[in-house]
Symmetry: C2
Subunit: 641 residues, 2 copies
């Protein structure tokens, strides 16, 4: 056995033993060392680079590592076999994983404004933000030798009299602590319950008064975002987000399903999201709002079909094997405690319902939040995640489909891609004559660029095309100081030289990156196209286009249309709705009306399976150009040189 | 630290370390070595004797150990401090604990006949032995690319169509295994559920068909008895019983409450009954009936108030502290899994309701089983356990009270007492002239006597009194070869000499034993007396007297009246009802009608607290004679010499 030492820039080393020839990435995973590996270790993404400090690895150089970098010790951990005791440096800023762990949901004023605008619109549409939770201080006489009623009956009678209900149901954990709580509180306690007609289902009985809260969570394949809310007022008490801890098992749902199919995998993937992701988020929310986790009385999760299967520890293997059958669309009667979330033991766990193997609760919750279901006119809803999902319809009908866009919109599959966090270039313009870039960077003034986030990539490709630097196939066709080619002849645009970047590494967009992104935007556009044409419609029917996803509020819709990602409809019809999944989950956790409406949406939405849909493949191929093989669809998309 | 070695006649030694001066009994308890200590280690019962083989104990001789025995190494473990490495022998047959561990419930044909007679009478009285459990094989089409309904929805629809229900509720654990079960069963599964109107609450879905069972349990302070039944037919599939593993924490409920009040005590006492007692019983039942524990879909427990608090891990301390308040009389909504019983995860746990601090679910269940609540004429129900409980009433009203009889009826507090198992003398006659005894022994022919069980003690005292060997105060007043006195002058009757007994120790009843028993019978009689006289009634109103408890079917009612234990009513009015608590629990687990009736009985029964009742103490003192200070109450009780 060899000794493997993982060192870091900002944390203590981790030392483990490993068998000869073991994969460095596997060893890191087993040691819970976070190394980004969105392609799940098949060598294609190039993100898992580490720097060899001492010892020997069998690790051939790939296209992801330059000769200079290789000489400097950089290796891909997925392709590295351990040949001796080794010490490696896991880079901090260079690893997108660390960035992914600090995500942007509701962290900016713009995101919060978007969120609050949606909630207001939902209420304006007549959805009552009410639930059956009640809380009251209930006071009893202390027992005496002449009044020997037991604690349970004493409390029950007092609740009946003071809260005006006929029947009362106490949970077991309350029964266990009842004697102590009543006596600690001198027989005056706070009761929290859910009232249905004349029945009170008690959730908790406590000696002290405290807030009554709920948690809404969006579990994305890549990132997880959550809010803590007051169940009575709906006030946002705290917000938190992080990367999905499952990411070390692969960037997309297919890789995750493969991993969970291995021995012990269901438990391992569930642990990765519950223990490693939700528990820290929960702790952060509680610390931030200064409440105990036991004050969270309901949890709602919106997530894609695979994510909610893995969250519940339900085998997702059949989802990816013909005929692609999930275990459930709707699932009820769950407790948060069932999956090991240490909130109040009585807390229910609401799961936003799925409607297909690849259209999940994040989309039903998001569709609810857009109010698409409440309008006479036709709307399109596009959620740009690791998977892209499309919903089209109005108050009378809804259809949806999913396409595999890959992680490009969140900066994955792109050599210098990253999420919209500090250091991300989120907007770019290029001078058509000098080809010099100007850009806007997320973060404080003086922040140097680290990489490109989704909105920045759209801008950059759009500008490269407008300036005639790349052609419709995404190949470089102009020369200049910002354009370079490697020894294979692959062109790239240098957005920041090593001297200009925060990392000391060049920030550039290559033809390979452009190709990845064009495939992603082509998948989205052709999915929209296929859905509309299946109804003999086209984009001209659209009155609203809602765009959601982690791509960020900075998305430039004009540029997105210019590159043929979205249909060419009037810009004012576009609306960025941010994390619509979280917005829907927030409404669902607070409002029983909203919850029912989301269930209705799921029942009434038709799922179109694109992979078996005649014509989709042709549409996709046609969309993998800038802006499209049928340029007439994008009359405003022009090349100025 | 010293090394303590516990050796046994029939099992491997247990070796532990102990601090100097540690109590040998405490060391044994911590090592899970079973030593009987009904008095919880205060030196009064003399049952915890062990034989010192090597080493040194600080252990003064008490009245429980003769000088010869002391010289031979016998010590009381509760009074022994460890002064060196020691080796002790824990006796097998001499320890009543081992006997208590093999109890007699439903082990004899007579007990089973009694049980079945009660169940028949309950059904004859119009209680429907029905529940809402249903089971059916449900068959689905396997999914295809053209039929991609998820597993949950597929099963739900099939249940709706094939079982004729509108709504279906699946538990989480079924959701987790659903994909595997449906595929293992080729989409034809057994569904077990509870049907309420148009709603089916699914309990389990399995690939194979298997029986649908329930478990009924009587948890006594001393012994635990259980039956496994078929939920549809009511057939007894298996029966099992054992001592209550809590017994090492004291013989009566007061000692148990004291023990559970110590740090970690609630968990320790719960573990003693759940892990050490119910789990082996459950395993035995399942092995005997050849079913998996997951086929048990409902559990019902009848037990006294302290026992059901300790079972649920609910602090019982307030029960014994003024003003004596239990946590609950009724408790609902429990799952068997809540207390760690590994039956089906969906299985509910029904707890027979309590009606007072010292009248618990065993009495409400037992009262139900006697049908006292269903008769116009007045009945008395007496349950002879470690506590004695009395119920009086008819279809219009019921009253109850409890008295502390101590463990005398089960052989505790009596030097040669034991339960009605192999070797127990269960019936005795004495020749009035020769004073020679004749007795009947439980067990195979040729079985030598080990001790006296409750019915044997009643017979013996009645016979000693009839033959004028003892007087009304229980003191020896005749001389003869069977009568002896120790050096304090304390008389005893020698039932078996060392040569005649199975243990090589004399079997005798001493004046101290007689005094203990007379106090126990006095407590019972005076409780009956107090209850009746509080209504200005006397025993002449009684049409039925139901006697229940572990005292055994061999109880001679005539002798029990002769010694003034029961009121002098016609013998044919007496009926031995065996373990009425278990009989009631059996009905409750099978029949929703029975369950409701027991809840009604608990709500309608009045509890009389004897300890604060004016006149009870006088009645008790008056009853502590043979047969009573007011001999006119027992006209048939005569002394023939």
């Amino acid at each position: 056995m060899y000794q493997v030492t993982f060192t870091f820039e900002n944390q203590d080393p981790v030392v483990v033993t490993a068998a000869p020839d073991a994969s460095l990435l596997e060893v890191a995973r087993n040691a819970n060392v976070a190394i980004d590996a969105p392609c799940s270790g098949n060598g294609s993404c190039g993100k898992c680079r580490v720097k060899l400090i001492a010892g020997e690895l069998d690790s051939p150089r790939t296209g992801h590592i330059s000769e200079e970098e290789y000489a400097d010790g950089w290796r891909l951990s997925c392709g590295s076999k351990i040949l001796s005791d080794v010490t490696v440096l896991v880079p901090d800023i260079a690893s997108a994983y660390q960035s992914r762990m600090k995500t942007a949901d509701l962290s900016s004023g713009e995101e919060i404004a978007t969120f609050e605008r949606l909630q207001q619109a939902i209420q304006d549409a007549g959805v009552a933000f009410r639930n059956d939770f009640v809380t009251q201080t209930v006071t009893m006489d202390a027992p005496t030798l002449d009044d020997t009623m037991p604690d349970n009956e004493r409390l029950t009678w007092a609740i009946q009299a003071q809260m005006g209900v006929e029947t009362v149901e106490l949970p077991y954990f309350v029964m266990k602590k009842l004697a102590a709580v009543l006596r600690a509180a001198d027989f005056s306690v706070q009761v929290v319950g859910e009232r249905k007609g004349d029945h009170l289902k008690v959730y908790d009985v406590t000696a002290e008064d405290a807030p009554v809260c709920a948690m809404a969570v969006d579990i994305g394949t890549t990132t997880v975002a959550a809010v803590l809310v007051d169940l009575f007022t709906g006030k946002l008490l705290a917000k938190a987000s992080s990367g999905n801890g499952q990411i070390r098992y692969g960037a997309d749902v297919i890789n995750r399903i493969v991993e969970q199919g291995k021995a012990g995998g269901v438990k391992r993937l569930q642990d990765a999201v519950v223990k490693e992701t939700l528990r820290p988020i929960l702790a952060g929310l509680c610390a931030s709002a200064k409440i105990k986790a036991s004050r969270i009385f309901r949890v709602c999760v919106a997530s894609n079909t695979t994510m909610n299967h893995l969250l519940l520890g339900v085998d997702a293997a059949p989802v990816r094997m013909e005929p692609y059958i999930p275990s459930f669309f709707h699932v009820h009667g769950l407790k948060a405690a069932d999956i090991g979330l240490a909130v109040n033991p009585s807390a229910d766990l609401r799961i936003a319902p799925n409607i297909g193997s690849y259209v999940g609760g994040d989309i039903t919750a998001g569709t609810f939040a857009t109010l698409l279901w409440n309008k006479e006119e036709f709307s399109l809803f596009v959620d740009l995640g690791t998977n892209g999902e499309i919903v089209f319809g109005n108050q009378d009908f809804m259809m949806s489909c999913a396409c595999s866009a890959g992680p490009a919109f969140e900066g994955g599959d792109i050599s210098c891609g990253m999420r919209a966090t500090d250091g991300a270039i989120e907007a770019v313009t290029i001078d058509v004559d000098t080809m010099e870039p100007a850009y806007k960077i997320v973060g404080d003034e003086g922040q140097q660029p680290v990489g490109l986030c989704g909105s920045g990539i759209i801008d950059l490709i759009s500008e490269l095309f407008r300036c005639g630097i790349i052609n419709a196939k995404g190949l470089f066709v102009r020369e200049g100081s910002r354009v370079a080619h490697d020894h294979h002849g692959t062109g790239r645009y240098i957005l920041a030289t090593p001297a200009e970047s925060a990392t000391g590494r060049e920030i550039a967009l290559t033809e390979v990156d452009i190709d990845s992104f064009v495939r992603a935007k082509g998948a989205i556009y052709s999915a929209i196209d296929t859905l509309l044409s299946s109804l003999d419609m086209d984009a001209s029917v659209l009155e609203h286009v809602y765009v959601a996803g982690g791509i960020g509020s900075g998305i430039n819709m004009k540029n997105a249309i210019n590159i043929g990602m979205f249909p060419a409809v009037e810009l004012e019809k576009y609306e960025y709705v941010g994390n619509s999944s979280l917005a829907g989950a927030y409404a669902m956790v607070l409002s029983d009306d909203a919850n029912e409406k989301v269930e209705d949406i799921a029942r009434n939405m038709t799922y179109v399976e694109l992979s078996t849909h005649v014509g989709y493949m042709d549409n996709f191929v046609a969309a993998c150009f800038l802006p499209h093989t049928d340029a007439a669809r994008f009359p405003d998309s022009v090349q100025e040189r």
